[in-house]
Amino acid sequence: MLVISITDKILICFKLLIMKILVCISHVPDTTSKINFSDNNTKFDTNGVQFVINPNDEFGLTRAMWFKEKQGATVTVVNVGGPETEPTLRKALAIGADAAIRVNTVATDGFSVAKQLANVVKDGGYDLVIAGRESIDYNGGMVPGMIAGLTSANFINNCIGLEIEGTSVKAIREIDGGKETLSTSLPLVIGGQKGLVEESDLRIPNMRGIMMARQKALNVLEPIDANAETTSTKFEKPAPKGAIKLVSPDNLDELINLLHNEAKVI
């Protein structure tokens, strides 16, 4: 049965004109955080830790704002996590996203997070999904590719350039030792990183943005059933470093000797 209501028709027309962008936001410890564990080294200790938008996602969000302002697009941000991630989503709203979604479940592993996000993408009919190449906490490097696989969208990882005209896409991907220029089409998922926009383009929320963010919708969705395919069982901190060996600038032969005979790296 197919009944298309007037509002749906309007939405469909709207959709043809305006790209719907979903930006996946990972809520991560600030880059200066000291990392500690609790519960017998099985849990990340969030005590005293400041949380921020994952840096790779900040580049993606900024590129999304560019599309919104220059070409017309709606930008929704999404996080899979508990209520504690809402300030991070509010910050994304203050930067300029139109709406936010929080999928109300603890993010345990990349695959289950990707399943939750793929479900949001399918329900919302997004044309472009921007995620980060990697989160700086779990460093999985898997969520964007998995969303693409689960939604049968095209996928570009390590994306450092993105232009969209209608449904055709030109993108630049960083490869080991260079870059690659690619063409593809929407729907598309990217794993973004620095280069997508310049560092100087990043925005700090201003007062007006923060005020406006309070009025924007932050929808809490209940999760779908999704098994964790991996489980984190234990954490370890690196062994403390031994004392450094100092070599005088007048005795560089000694440095070469140490690197050759002791460290055996040259």
Partner: protein, 319 residues
């Protein structure tokens, strides 16, 4: 049941990481009491793999695969995994391997652990040690799915030679739709990339300006190293973005990392800490890098580096 390993190549030849991931696959196969099958795309001579424990090679030859395509490659590896009834797939940590891994995970409905640095600590439940929090910690991850994918971190496991021979078999998978076209590839030739490098020479704002990078390039060239830089250096446009290393740049897991005029901020160290041996050259003995490095020279880069280049040239000539 055999362990499947994707052995990466470039222009018909294996990359060095192919032998490292093969060595890793052999260790897993020993733990599981099974054999290793490698899959290679357009490689002319695959016989070297036997030296690293591979028992069988699936050779895919198809000019349509000359350019890497993550979706097509992932789908081919899936077909190979199904043919071999594989339970564990081993891949590397190059940009290409990390690109195809999540697609492969979805295709095989497999749990995937990236940045793994040791052979599995346990086979049942299957548990691996990986780096997390950008090298500020290690995490033990248990993979719960029937089929598992392990991404091995560069220069972490090393090369392990074994004796034996490998059979080669032509493999002709079907090619899936790609959805993505490569318009052009812009790759610096004749230079070692950070990802492939065993030695990385990196410099920071202490170098004062882009015109001073000649000595850094020269040091790298004597050592056969890749060049890298700190974040402000690439933000200032002194060096290309591709050279920015650290928590928000490229990760470095080299055997030797030489930091010149870099203070050693926590975000910088996080990204390079997986390197085995670190050398710092800095005028300021209080620079935090001295707490993170193995060897250090307190001195002016403009004096130390040219001198080091000369001495290394003499050393290399003797070798």
């Amino acid at each position: 049941m055999s362990v499947l390993v994707y052995t990466e190549s470039e222009q018909g030849k294996f990359k060095k990481v192919a032998f490292e991931v093969a060595s890793y696959a052999k260790a897993v196969a020993n733990q599981l009491g099974t054999t290793v099958t490698a899959i290679a795309m357009n490689v002319n001579d695959t016989s070297q793999l036997a030296m690293y424990g591979v028992d069988k090679v699936l050779n895919v030859t198809n000019t349509q695969l000359d350019n890497f395509n993550a979706k097509i490659y992932a789908n081919i590896i899936k077909q190979a995994a199904e043919k071999e009834s594989t339970k564990v797939v081993i891949i590397g940590s190059s940009a290409n391997s990390k690109y195809l891994a999540p697609l492969l995970a979805v295709e095989l409905n497999a749990g995937y652990a990236s940045n793994v640095i040791e052979a599995p600590s346990n086979i049942s439940p299957f548990t691996v040690k990986r780096t997390a929090f950008t090298n500020k910690a290690f995490e033990f991850t248990q993979i719960n799915t029937d089929v598992k994918i392990v991404g091995v971190s560069n220069n972490s496991f090393g090369l392990v030679e074994s004796s034996g021979s490998a059979t080669a078999e032509a493999f002709s998978p079907s090619l899936s739709e790609s959805g993505i076209n490569i318009e052009s590839v812009d790759k610096v030739t004749g230079k070692v990339s950070i990802a492939d490098a065993e030695i990385v020479v990196s410099a920071g704002r202490g170098l004062k300006g882009p015109e001073n990078w000649g000595m850094i390039e020269e040091l790298a060239s004597v050592l056969g190293a890749a060049t890298a830089c700190s974040k402000p250096v690439s933000d200032l446009g002194w060096r290309p973005h591709g050279e920015h290393v650290g928590q928000t740049g490229k990760p470095v897991a080299a055997n030797l990392y030489i930091a010149i005029g870099i203070s050693g901020a926590i975000q910088h160290l996080a990204g390079i800490n997986a390197s085995k041996v670190k050398v710092v050259i800095n005028t300021d003995s209080e620079a935090p890098f001295f707490k993170a490095a193995d060897y250090g020279v307190i001195g002016d880069a403009f004096e130390v580096v040219p001198r080091l280049v000369e001495k290394l040239k003499a050393f290399k000539a003797q070798q």
